[in-house]
Amino acid sequence: MEPRVLIIIPAYNEEDSIGNVLQSIRDHCPEYDVVVIDDGSADATAQIVGRFENVALVRLPYNLGIGASVQTGYKYAMQEGYDIAVQCDADGQHPVDRIPSLVARVTAGDADLIIGSRYVAESAYKPSLGRRVGKSILSRLVDAVVGGGITDTTSGFRAANRKVIATFAKYYPDDYPEAEALVIVHKSGLKAAETAVEMNPRQGGRTSIRLLHAVYYMIKVALAIFIDVFRKFTKHVETR
């Protein structure tokens, strides 16, 4: 039986790009269901999503932040009984045509979570120096804890199986969640792996990581990961 796949798109004021992203999902993988989590957008994001038939829209009444809106997507996937959930940004950076290859690796059982990574050899993505340094320190930290050779710990382009969906529905960090989520996956006894993808430049909106926040970002995530090492995560038991 084919697995039921849900694409989770968290969106906060993404009216410039969300339409294109949804359209290219329709073009490249029409067989997958889509849910957009509108994180209290003040612009036309929700109206644009409403134009697409069969795209579910969950509107948070006010802005909760990226972590909470992604988690809302995983809770939705959990409640609706999806086998695989794919996380994809609304700004058009993630190559939606690669979603089927992420899903295929999850289906094949390569790992519980497959990350579409920017840093593996074949990609031409060139981030700024500050961001590279920050992300490389974080990657090393995650690597020290998880020890799985994951190069792009901050990529939000991921496909998760049922066990990871259940874990994330229960535990998911508030802000800058991607790197810490990997530690949670590891601590829950699950496995993550990555696959190289070519990232596109942003189509609209602004990146959620601004330079001023970089220091807060590093300290917060490092502290969270350090504490997670000593936390207990109850493992998910499939009851279906």
């Binding site: 969950v58 509107r59 948070l60 009444p61 006010y62 909760l64 909470a68 809302t72 409640q79």
Partner: protein
Amino acid sequence: MGEAPQFGIELSHRVALLTASLALLCLVLELVRRGYLKERYALLWLATSGVGLLLGCFPGLIVFISPILQVQYLTVLFILSFVFLLSIVLVFTVVISRLTERHRQLTQEVALLANRLKRLEKKSE
């Protein structure tokens, strides 16, 4: 500093301590009575005023503590009030964190239910 301090502590300081502690006690009890302050969060405030009253009634305690901490007796009062304020603020940040987590879960639940309701309405049309 006029006469020799009674029990090793200035009378005016003792009066001020007792008055402040009593005022705090009455204020906290009144806030609880009117329902502005929950009993569980009032406990630390009550403990603060309780210790204030205790030290005001038995100033010998302060005189006993100050040489242990190697500070003057007035400083003991400042240290104690600082410790109490610190614990109250710490407890409150714990409470705020718990409320944040609950309100996040509640908000997510509301959004998911609203989505479900919409789908059900569409289905029944």
